[in-house]
């Protein structure tokens, strides 16, 4: 049986993003590549503790929207606010500090292949100079994602599902206020996708804000009973806030 995660494992205050303040806000944002506009006039607010699915066809701009949410891209027009601060005015160091509050599960995981899985998961703590007091928590986190035996292996040696779980563990190790996941179940089978979503729901119950980009509507429907999620649909450059109904 999969162990549940002890909230104390996650460093910091698991309800830090609470108190009603919008954690991430996109206000009339537009973005495009080259001369093509991907979307414009797009607005979105992520309240603390909320759970959102972002759906839409391939190429609609889901990944781009997520990248705007963790300041990996800068909006062409409009404002992106991270924890109330205009992302366009943040220095590079301030962006780094904001990213410590946003855990990201990338579609391609973005691991450093020369490090072990345990070192990759601990990387956010390492770069924050907080690794020394987190060894026990790392072990428990590895256990939570059932990767204890694989801790010493390199990322290329792991299966797709194991890599996705490791990416999720890395995303939450800093106890971020927000977890953003880009197609976290894209490369795994049905059972594994259910497991990953269960982990994300568990995090949401701890107070984390969750934003998941996926094109898998069946997977969303399967989670309907377990989480109070809003579904956002990105299509034709417009963001349709579809509500909880699927």
């Amino acid at each position: 049986m999969r162990p549940s995660l002890n909230p104390a494992v996650l460093l910091g205050n698991t309800a830090a993003a609470g108190k009603g303040k919008i954690v991430i806000e996109l206000d009339n944002v537009s973005y495009g590549y080259g001369g093509t506009t991907l979307f414009s006039g797009l607005s979105l607010k992520l309240a603390p503790g909320s759970f959102h699915f972002l759906t839409g066809p391939s190429g609609a701009g889901k990944t781009t929207l997520l990248r705007l949410c963790y300041a990996d891209l800068r909006a062409k027009t409009g404002k992106v606010r991270l924890f109330g601060q205009d992302a366009a005015t943040l220095t590079r160091d301030e962006v780094a500090m904001a990213r410590r509050r946003i855990g990201v599960v990338h579609q391609d995981c973005q691991f450093l292949d020369h490090l072990s899985i345990a070192e990759n998961i601990a990387l956010p703590l390492t770069v924050a100079d907080r690794i020394a007091d987190a060894q026990n928590n790392l072990a428990e986190l590895l256990s939570w994602v059932s990767l204890g035996p694989q801790a010493g292996q390199r990322p290329p040696e792991l299966s797709g599902g194991e890599r996705q779980r490791a990416a999720l563990a890395r995303a939450v190790i800093m106890s971020p206020d927000v977890v953003i996941a880009d197609e976290p179940t894209g490369n795994v089978d049905w059972d594994m996708s259910q497991r990953l979503l269960a982990l994300l729901i568990e995090l949401n119950r701890m107070g984390k804000t969750i934003l998941i980009a996926t094109h898998d509507l069946a997977m969303i429907r399967s989670m309907k009973a377990d989480v109070n999620a809003r579904v956002l649909r990105l299509k034709g450059g417009q963001l349709i806030q579809a509500g909880a109904e699927l």
Binding site: Y70, D72, R92, D93, A96, M97, R99, R100, V104, H106, Q110, F111, L112, H114, L115, E119, A122, L123, P124, T126, V127, A128, D129, I131, R170, M174
Partner: protein, 297 residues
């Protein structure tokens, strides 16, 4: 000091975040070693040339020559008069008439060892050694003009001034060469750092995505290049010092006894090359890293 210690000791986990880059690592060590080797030789040449020129200038400043023309009538009387003037001049410690053998030795390079000095119209020379306070050259010339007409006092001023100027220029050239070596080393390390940063663009991207600040990312590269440059400079400096010891030392300056290499406090300079190389590498890599990280935003 705390930061220096942190730079040297490093953080093993942080160091592992950036993978080692073989070719740039080896190039950095090689460049630092080569530059340190050249720097030690430039220093040795500069310091030795400076000592040599200074030695010559000092030797010349410590003596003067009085020349009595060969055709001067009544040379013996003129000689006695000249010696008398010199012995009664304040500041002259001694005045010694050069023997025929000494005059022959002086002329030997041009006329051979068997030159019959006695039968040739060779000027008579008197070596003058001043005391610590020295003598008034102009006053002495005036007295000699009055009492030994035709005698010429040569205090080697015509030689000493150019030698001193040459010594100063040699030192300047030495420092310029060292500055050039430092600049070349900085340029090479900057190129190697840029190559390493470019090769690790994906690593930098991942580090940034997980919240690494520029200073953290730069530190990994700066520490690596600083230590490599320091290590290379130690190797280069040691090799250069070994090579210096292997050079022939005897009579290198034409019998002046000047030692080619480092003497006394001069040893501070070659010992300072490795830490100076580290400082150059630190500054060059840090500047390159922050510039690159800014571009890669």
């Amino acid at each position: 000091m705390k930061n220096l210690l942190a730079l040297i000791m490093g953080d093993p986990l942080a160091d592992r975040a950036v993978p080692p880059t073989g070719i740039s690592a080896r190039l950095t060590v090689f460049v630092a070693a080569a530059m340190a080797f050249l720097a030690v030789f430039a220093l040795a040449l500069s310091l030795t040339a400076g000592r040599l020129a200074s030695g010559w200038a000092d030797d010349l400043a410590q003596s003067a020559t009085l020349r009595l023309p060969a055709d001067l009538d009544q040379t013996n009387e003129a000689l006695r008069a000249a010696v008398n003037v010199l012995q009664t001049t304040t500041g002259v410690a001694s005045a010694r008439v050069l023997e025929a053998d000494e005059q022959r030795a002086l002329l030997a390079p041009w006329f051979g060892p068997d030159i019959p000095v006695e039968s040739l119209p060779v000027p008579q020379l008197i070596e003058i050694l001043p005391d610590e306070d020295g003598y008034d050259a102009e006053g002495l010339r005036a007295r000699l003009q009055a009492e030994v007409p035709g005698a010429v006092l040569d205090d080697h001023g015509a030689w000493r001034e150019p030698l001193l100027a040459a010594a100063q220029r040699l030192r300047l050239v030495g420092w310029s060469v060292l500055a050039l070596i430092g600049a070349v080393m900085a340029a090479m390390i900057t190129l190697a750092a840029h190559a390493s940063l470019a090769a690790n663009a994906q690593v930098i991207r991942v580090l940034r995505l997980v919240g690494a600040r520029d200073a953290y990312i730069a530190r990994a590269f700066v520490r690596r290049f600083t230590l490599r440059a320091g290590l290379g400079a130690i190797l280069g400096a040691v090799l250069a010092l070994v090579a210096l010891q292997g050079l022939p030392q005897a009579d290198v300056a034409g019998g002046t006894g000047v030692h080619f290499g480092f003497v006394g406090l001069d040893w501070i300079w070659p010992l300072a090359i490795p830490p100076l190389s580290g400082i150059v590498a630190f500054a060059a890599t840090r500047a390159a890293a922050f510039r690159r990280l800014k571009e890669q935003t």
